[in-house]
């Protein structure tokens, strides 16, 4: 079992839809939970990060963490064609003296006009 599981999709939705992207994890020691967006032929771009259980909102994006269920979500409201990208979840863990990120596979999202 991988430490972080993420459905790779692809996910296709109409413009204006609410999108839900999810990751599950097995390591209860993960501390920070992040969502990155990656456009084709670009590097990953940090969208949001959270530390504790609960919701964090930024514009049309809401990140949700449920540590008891080991489950994180990213919601996108009023989705736009410009949201079409791959969304990767990442979680941080201490490895020796360094903190490293453990990555999900990424979910490919297409928002159709």
């Amino acid at each position: 079992q991988k430490e972080v599981e993420q459905d790779p999709g692809p996910l296709s939705v109409p413009e204006g839809a609410i999108v839900s992207l999810n990751c599950t994890y097995s390591n209860s020691a993960f501390q920070y939970f992040m969502w990155y967006r990656q456009y084709s032929r670009k590097g990953p771009e940090l969208l949001m990060y959270t530390y504790s259980s609960g919701n964090k909102e930024d514009g049309r994006f809401t990140a949700q963490v449920d540590k008891s269920s080991k489950y994180i979500s990213l919601f996108i409201r009023d989705s736009q064609p410009s949201d079409s990208a791959t969304y990767l979840c990442a979680m941080s863990a201490l490895d020796g003296n360094n903190r490293k990120l453990i990555w999900g596979l990424g979910t490919s999202l297409a928002v159709n006009p």
Binding site: M34, K42, G43, L46, N98, K100, L101, L105
Partner: protein, 114 residues
Amino acid sequence: SAVISQKPSRDICQRGTSLTIQCQVDSQVTMMFWYRQQPGQSLTLIATANQGSEATYESGFVIDKFPISRPNLTFSTLTVSNMSPEDSSIYLCSGHRGAADTQYFGPGTRLTVL
């Protein structure tokens, strides 16, 4: 956030040759990392670039194949040595700064080995 640049942005190389990728950060970061991303795949950490000392490599990656330098806090290089077609990938550098464990990424170097 930190602005990170990489060069070259892409290259096509012959088998058996080596390529050095440069990564420049616009401000001081505490840690720098090198990743590989195969087409359609997630990110695989190659190593943590340590300033003034040897990089810390992940399982499956060795210094002879992927020598890394970090002479100061804002610059690092990754060399892909004795390349084979299996090394064709996107190579990404990232930097970490601040209390959270977030990382900021460069645009990547797309390498094709013939």
